[in-house]
Symmetry: C2
């Protein structure tokens, strides 16, 4: 953590106002803490579904309000910083990146809660086999993406952000494989359809979480390069990200 | 339109800088035009799916880039306004509401594109019956929500925003009914599963579009009342929205 903290100093500009420095560092710190909570929610939700851990499913569902409360708090503090400090250039980009990142984190939290609810429903019916292992693999993949995206955000590391964004291709293809296997299973054993649909929704949520982790990576590139890299291909994103530093 | 324009004058503060007035009105106007395009995309996508109109499905898929380009443009102009004008109070809330609204509009555009792609796939297989009529009804309901949410945004009408947000309850229950009917159909006719899953994904996209229309309503309340009404119940939202005017 101390290494991380010292790297953070590199991208926070030093302002004459010590208070302004402290405010920017504080919202950045809060995003990291919200990210940690969301990652924990995701880990628990996937474990609940894959390992049949009912108590973890319940924990995820009752904890979602904490994620929501953090989003509202950070959102308000960020708007206050714009009002009080009238930031420009990279300071403003940092605040905008924070506002956008917490929206995606909150929605990842929502998806984790959905998976938790699905797990509660799924575990009430009796558990079946099917591509639960693959679901666990996809869960682990997107959890890793989220963790690395947050790490890229912590250090505002644009190279890592681009690497993580590319992992989303892999998440999408794992997702397609799972959906096809689930459709086969439903066709072969129609009486399992209600249970299999819980697995379908879980896979879908995980795929969406991968998309949102990619979004966070795009905000890192936006902060560092001052360029909006949404809606462009990975090749173009690599080019933008490896362009001249400003 | 002229009535709408004259009402818009009511919530735009008049600044000493004529140019600042013009800039704020311009991004607001651009959001409305982006909203119109997204609404058209949604209408075409639902028609393509429900009426089997292949040419509309293709139109939706090739037009999504226009929505994305508008988002990037408005996002950049909004950030520029913060830098140049250092807005405070309701001006800043307007710019923040714009930045958040275009994110949701862009994602509604993505869902419309997904429905368009689903329609292309669905129409290649041969069309089946099933709850296509109900899908059309849900599509019409969320299109109406989006239209009214944009209208509330156009006039910054907080009472209408709350009314529209409440319509999301209805969208969710229509969605649940459709999903249950689709599961029944899959259990009875397992060979239709691949086609039925296209309808499942379409229903899911429509349900998400309802959520996002509700988000836009929340930004209207945020702009007018200066209060974040996310994550609270409808009753609380009505209270906040009908509270004393500032």
């Amino acid at each position: 953590m101390s290494q991380e903290e010292s790297m953070e100093q590199n991208f926070f500009k030093q302002h004459i106002s010590q208070r302004f420095n402290a405010e920017l560092e504080e919202i950045h710190r809060q995003v990291m803490s919200m990210g940690g909570l969301v990652e924990e929610q995701l880990t628990d939700a996937v474990k609940a579904m894959v390992e049949g851990r009912m108590e973890l499913a319940e924990k995820v569902v009752v904890s979602d309000y904490k994620v929501n409360a953090l989003e509202v708090k950070i959102d308000e503090e960020s708007t206050q910083i714009i009002v009080r400090r009238q930031p420009t250039a990279s300071d403003l980009r940092l605040v905008v990146a924070v506002i956008k990142t917490i929206t995606d984190l909150e929605r990842i939290g929502d998806e984790a809660e959905r998976i938790g609810r699905m797990a509660l429903h799924f575990l009430e019916l009796d558990r079946q086999t099917g591509p639960i292992k693959e679901l666990g693999d996809l869960g682990e993949h997107v959890r890793g993406m989220l963790n690395s995206a947050l790490d890229a955000f912590a250090r505002m590391d644009v190279e890592q952000a681009v690497r993580v964004a590319q992992l989303d291709i892999n998440a999408d293809s794992q997702y397609e494989v799972i959906i096809h296997r689930l459709m086969d299973q439903m066709m072969k054993y129609p009486d399992t359809i209600p249970r299999v649909m819980d697995v379908v929704w879980t896979a879908r949520s995980l795929e969406r979480i991968g998309d949102r982790a990619r979004n966070i990576c795009e905000y890192v590139v936006y902060f560092v390069r001052g360029k909006n890299v949404r809606h462009i291909s990975y090749d173009q994103m690599v080019q933008e990200a490896t362009g001249d530093r400003r």
